[in-house]
Amino acid sequence: MGLGNTILSIEGLKVHFDTMDGTSRVLDDVELSVGEGEVVGLVGETGCGKSVTAKTILRSLPVPPGRIIDGEILFLGNNLLELSREEGHQVMSKKMSYIPQDPMTSLNPVFTVGEEMGDLIRWHGRRRVGPLEFMGLRRRHDNSLAKAVELLDRVKIPASREIIKRYPVELSGGMRQRVLIAMALIGHPSLLIADEPTTALDVTIQKGILELIEEKVKEEELSVLYITHNLGVARRLCDRIYVMYAGTIAETAKTEDLLDNPRHPYTSGLISSIPKLTGDEFKGIDGRIPDYIDPPSGCRFHPRCPEVMEICKQEKPELVKVGGGRLVACHLFSTRGES
């Protein structure tokens, strides 16, 4: 798996949310790993827990209402869930970064691009601020603006010297997303978590952004956890894909294997739902994502599964190896074992 060491590994992660109607059991035993230099896709439909997973890794899960019940998140050998705020910050701030989903709302509208980036460059990795600095009476002598320009050049923004003087509203969606990518690259992270960074963009702009991410991954030797609902985007970017359904990992495999030869009935359903340019017939999956307050017993996919068996309603399937580095959580395979 991957190209050597594991940089991020999640084991048995359970996250619940307390709501007015009861406890919503969102993540149920999520297992996931990202190898060094590997681009891993996390694919699933709306409401399947992709973003909750990302937020839990980034320790930005709102607690309460969220509650981490169980599991561990190992990042560079540290269990992030056991670290204190301070320690966690130390481990994460320099090594992990994040590209948010919505470029329209992720930049502060009252600062120029240069101010916002400059702030981040100046304070990156620092925890304490002197009182004079805090009040803005003493500026640290720095070259943050020059560095911001350099970063913008790295994400191929034309006229970067002009752009740092602009406010976010003056930039297009694609341009803002490039700024956010530039900000994520400050401080040379090892792991980049990208939460659907191209969803809000048009296809021709999306293509440019994907090419940029591809290039940066190679240049900076990044590992990436790329969250998306678009299998086409995942195919282009990812070495390996996790398919998530209703808070559980349904299947993982190398990108080509997964797309050409899906094993889990949900993965096949998802792939056959996508309209294809070759004009093959496409059909959806009946039903909808289950209610998390009262999730189906056994396998969470069983009420929608075309190949449901008796055991699926009672027992939760474990992730089992099915050869070629593939893992599938489905009773169709757990009985057969290695195939």
Binding site: V203, S273, P275
Partner: protein, 325 residues
């Protein structure tokens, strides 16, 4: 079957914005600029383009939700561009629309019954029981159970809301439905179901669709003809199969090559990789000549000077580009 249902000639929709001191200057936003289109009975015409290309405005102008600035529209042989009042009302019942965002298209304070029956109540004077029966029928057409009648939109999933939106559009037995990205807010597994439903309804009721979308994979699968828009203008229109097999306009080719695909077979279908540089220019300040010239990799000197003429390059295949004139 191949009779003309709707035809537009030089259809324009401009929006005006006051600017300058005391609003003395007026800026013109050409949302739709000289659109010539034909829609045949029973076909699905797709309008594709990126956000801001004017595809929704064109759809809305064609069915007179917006009043056109210039140009002509014929609906079943009648000129409807300048009709007003009761005559417009008469045509409107045959032209319906399904909106992009199912959540904001339904009034959250009304029940499904109220929502679907509104067009019936405005056009026909039916007693309550009959009205309810008709709405039940409509619910059945869109494959929703009859007990949805008294539900509110918040109790429905996005897919179900879109079905209610479709039922409302069907209520008056329209001839033409403008579908404005009806599945862009939905997951793929739900999208496939909605598309299948739309296709079934089209066959059953001999409907004609104008399908507005930015998703080319969907368009390829459901439409008969496709028109590609860029910055308010139609740049290429052809039978869908022809367009995907031999795209001519540089923008169409770039658009097709950018589709994220999921298999090697599909890779063979799309054109060679083209990455567009730059951004769409502001529609308030369109450069002279061809609108696409600023991003085109095959531009010639003439492209920045003159507007491209229409060229017919085959059976029902039109392209607006200097390369083909």
């Amino acid at each position: 079957m191949n009779q003309l249902l709707m035809k537009t000639e030089g259809l324009c929709k401009y929006f005006f914005r006051d600017s300058g001191l005391l609003g003395r200057e007026q800026k013109v936003l050409k949302a739709v600029d000289t659109a010539d289109l034909e829609v045949k009975h029973g076909e699905t015409l797709a309008l594709v383009g990126e956000s801001g290309s004017g595809k929704t405005t064109l759809g809305k102008t064609m069915i007179r939700i917006y009043k056109p600035t210039k140009g002509k529209i014929w609906f079943e042989g009648d000129e409807i561009c300048s009709v007003e009042g009761d005559r417009l009302r008469h045509y409107r019942r045959y032209m319906q629309m399904v909106f992009q965002d199912p959540t904001s298209a339904l009034n959250p304070r009304k029940t499904v019954l109220d929502i679907i029956s509104l067009p019936l109540r405005t056009y026909q004077n039916l007693p309550r029981t009959e009205l309810r029966e008709r709405v039940k029928e409509l619910l059945e057409m869109v494959e929703l159970p009859p007990d949805f009648l008294y539900r509110y939109p918040h109790a429905l999933s996005a897919g179900q809301k879109q079905r209610v939106g479709i039922a409302r559009a069907l209520a008056l037995n329209p001839k033409l439905i403008v579908l404005d990205e009806p599945t862009s807010a939905l997951d793929v597994s739900v999208q496939a179901k909605i598309l299948a439903l739309l296709e079934r309804l089209r066959r059953e009721f001999q409907l004609t669709y104008i399908y507005i979308s930015h998703d080319l994979s969907v368009v390829k699968n459901i439409s008969d003809r496709t028109a590609v828009m860029y910055l308010g203008q139609i740049v290429e229109s052809a039978l869908t199969d022809n367009l995907f097999e031999s795209p001519l306009h540089p923008y169409t080719r770039a658009l097709l090559s950018a589709i994220p695909i999921i298999s090697a077979e599909e890779q063979e279908v799309i054109p060679e990789e083209i990455t567009l540089v730059g951004e769409i220019p502001s529609p308030l300040d369109v450069p002279p000549g061809c609108n696409f010239a600023s991003r085109c990799q095959e531009k010639m000197p003439i492209c920045e000077a003159d507007e491209p003429p229409l060229a017919k390059v085959g059976n029902d295949h039109y392209v607006w580009c200097h390369r083909y004139s």
